[in-house]
Symmetry: C2
Subunit: 452 residues, 2 copies
């Protein structure tokens, strides 16, 4: 039995480790065009910020550890073709630029995703970075040392995490978001709180420009010095970060006749099987099922990648495991502000055909007399017809994400607002108010539902 895995950041490395544990006698090979395997890409902003100094902290498992457990790791080996009919792979050893063939019994595609580069004139400077690989992390951190000003293009998860990293390093930062609000994953009424809250705490350390697309870089052989947006306005920069979203790496799969889903990522069933026999896909390159709508979604997140890698390995080793899908739960933080969500936003719910009703409360995360009490704004969304909870978003103090996880469980179970508001949530002054905002918001939502 020979199991070959293409790509090994989160999903691929999880799959490799799990497969070898399940079938110790199987040959397990990892091919990757990367120079590293098994690293926490999500941790890169925290390394750049300075939470730790050695990039190797980001490495979960070294190639040597994989080899030690009997897994063959081929770094800088790019798989250039999958030939399902003959169960062969064409591989290019990037170090020596030599191509060769290998075969597989079971193949796991974990090729991940790549940054989207928006169309910007003169985008070829050496101080322009994306945030994806270990090399990016090392290069940005080095460049940061003598930077005074930075421009971040994109105000999603990574954009906000990089903003935090730069501000904490006293680099004045201009964050430019093409849309009208930061974090377009949220409903606008929640998104608009983010810039508001951030500017309240940290004025003069950064600026946020929304509703403007970057059109041009200007600079010389030293790199970009200013970044121009559609309005003609320009912003100084000693370094530029592009975090304008990612796209799934599916060329290899498409070329092999593997079907993509409507999201543009590889379509898999709930055992992570692709449309081609003996080929599995997992992680950022494949799509998921949204638990509430049962529709395909693409949620390229580390938590999903880990579960999917594990699931792919179990099934490819002859076991039986299902990946149930996602609730689209996610979280990030920026300068003390936690932003998290689960389920459907109102706009997504409307698109999915729901007639929604929502409730929003702003309340202390703990009793007001505790010195570190802080506001959280929580929005709950329900289906008007059935009263079923559809989603929620929270913006505010540190552990607001955990309220979202409490809600996620309700979504998983398909609870109605009436059922959820019976919840018995822990209370003590350092942890919540005697009636937690989750219950408050549910009570308001319940009243609204009963009116209609």
């Amino acid at each position: 039995m020979k199991i070959v895995i293409i790509g090994a950041v989160a999903a691929g490395s999880k799959a490799a480790a799990k497969a070898k544990r399940m079938l110790p006698d199987a040959e397990v090979h990892i091919y990757t065009d990367d120079t590293h395997v098994s690293y926490s890409a999500c941790g890169i902003p925290y390394y750049i910020e300075g939470n730790f100094d050695d990039y190797r902290t980001l490495l979960v498992r070294s190639p040597e550890e994989f080899e030690h457990s009997g897994i063959r790791v081929h770094l800088r080996h790019k798989v250039t073709k999958i030939m399902p009919a003959s169960k062969q792979l064409l591989i290019n050893n990037l170090n020596e630029n030599i191509s060769f063939l290998d075969n597989y019994d079971k193949l796991i595609i974990a090729t991940g995703a790549s940054p989207i580069i928006p169309p910007i004139r003169n985008n070829c400077f050496k101080n322009v970075f994306t945030v994806r690989k270990i090399e990016d992390a090392i290069n940005i951190k080095q460049k940061l040392q003598d930077a005074r000003r930075a421009v971040i293009i994109g105000g999603g998860y990574i954009g906000l995490e990089m903003l935090e990293a730069f501000v904490r390093n006293n680099v004045y930062t201009t964050l430019i978001e093409r849309g009208n609000y930061l974090m377009p994953a949220l409903d606008e009424d929640m998104s608009e709180l983010i810039a508001e809250e951030l500017c309240k705490i940290h004025e003069n350390k950064f600026e946020i420009i929304t509703g403007q697309a970057v059109t041009e870089f200007c600079g010389d052989e030293e790199g970009v010095s200013t970044v121009e947006v559609g309005s003609g306005e320009s912003y100084e920069a000693d370094l530029v970060i592009i975090c304008a979203g990612v796209k799934p790496n599916v060329e290899l799969a498409v070329d092999a006749g593997i079907k993509l889903g409507v999201t543009g990522a590889i379509r898999v069933n709930n055992r992570m099987e692709s449309s081609v026999p003996d080929i599995y896909a997992c992680g950022d390159c494949c799509e998921e099922t949204q638990i509430i709508t049962k529709a395909p979604v693409w949620m390229p997140l580390g938590s999903n990648a880990n579960k999917e890698g594990r699931c792919a390995a179990i099934n490819c080793c002859g076991g039986f495991e299902e990946f149930y899908g996602v609730l689209s739960s996610a979280v990030t933080q920026c300068l003390g502000l936690t932003i998290s969500l689960t389920g459907l936003t109102e706009k997504e719910a409307a698109k999915a055909g729901f007639d929604t009703v929502s409730a929003k409360v702003t309340k202390n995360d703990k009793v007001g007399y505790m010195p570190d009490a802080n506001n959280i704004t929580l929005k709950l969304i329900a289906d008007k017809k059935s009263g079923r909870l559809l989603g929620g978003q929270a913006v505010g103090a540190k552990d607001s994400d955990k309220r979202i996880n409490t809600l996620a469980t309700a979504l998983l179970a398909g609870l109605t607002v009436e059922e959820f508001r019976r919840n018995d949530i822990t209370y003590a002054p350092p942890f919540s108010t005697s009636i937690d905002m989750l219950i408050n918001a549910s009570d308001i939502l319940s009243a609204k539902l009963n009116q209609k």
Copy 2:
């Protein structure tokens, strides 16, 4: 319509406010033997600790505010008899020691609970306190100013909160718990972690004595100077706190022919109606239904009191509201350690007839490279036969309670382990590991269930 409420800490004051809002024309009276109404008793340890200086911060709503909204507040007026046949009350004005009669159309009993005083020889000193009322808070805080050593009797919620308060004020503290472990609400394998963890961080600032009952106080007219336990060992103290549990205040109800439940607290239905028409009970004086077992339990907590007060008021004003019951969720903190639980412990589950299986994991609350990553030990308990989740306990870093709330929602929904492990929990390095401990523990529990 005349609504009379006896007692007004959490449940009573909530009921009064809600009743007046629902029926603005009704006469609403509060009778209490206390000198304060509507205060956060749960906040007393945090006031003593020094999180804020003015005890009035603990007052949620002043008597004047109640009066202003049309609610009559009778402080230091002790109701000494309820006469349901004539719908009358006998009341003693404690200020003037004059008794008089009043009548009611609807009566809400919110008499709360009182500290249990264990049998200790010479227990009549002026530096011995319980922690219940505003006066206790003021007296303890004052006494603390020139104390060097304290003894706390009882290692439950309040005992641990007072330990934190004293240690933070540099008062060397001996905490004496009669049982073998702190926090007897937890299973022993979780309880034993508490003393272990506390002593790791804060040695030399306190000592914890378990398995010893306090037998005698020794001192002079200045107060207790030493506290003796069963073994003969004695401990110095400039002040002594007794927090050996509470008992429901039910004498008045019993005398009026109102039925108690098996827990010894007032029995109510899910509309908070007692066994006597037009008499409701809510808060610490009444019992609840445990959602999992459907059996009566007594959970005298502020969160329940608030909900029950609200429910009693709605029903007593002609509305319809049900209090669904409790999951026995609770949380406390001590010196940075969070202790929380929901549902049934293994010992409770066994008592309720379940054959249990459990899983315990110790894992970082966030990714290990984040500077404030900290361990949480999480225990999940399930029913071997059905695979249904029954409860969980967590001891560790700050927001471990929020994992317990995620679990509480699963208990509310009656999820099995197989269902719960499909959960999609938010992930980012500052908030959790890529596979959160809740999912890890569920995976382990699932494997154990499948083995059997």
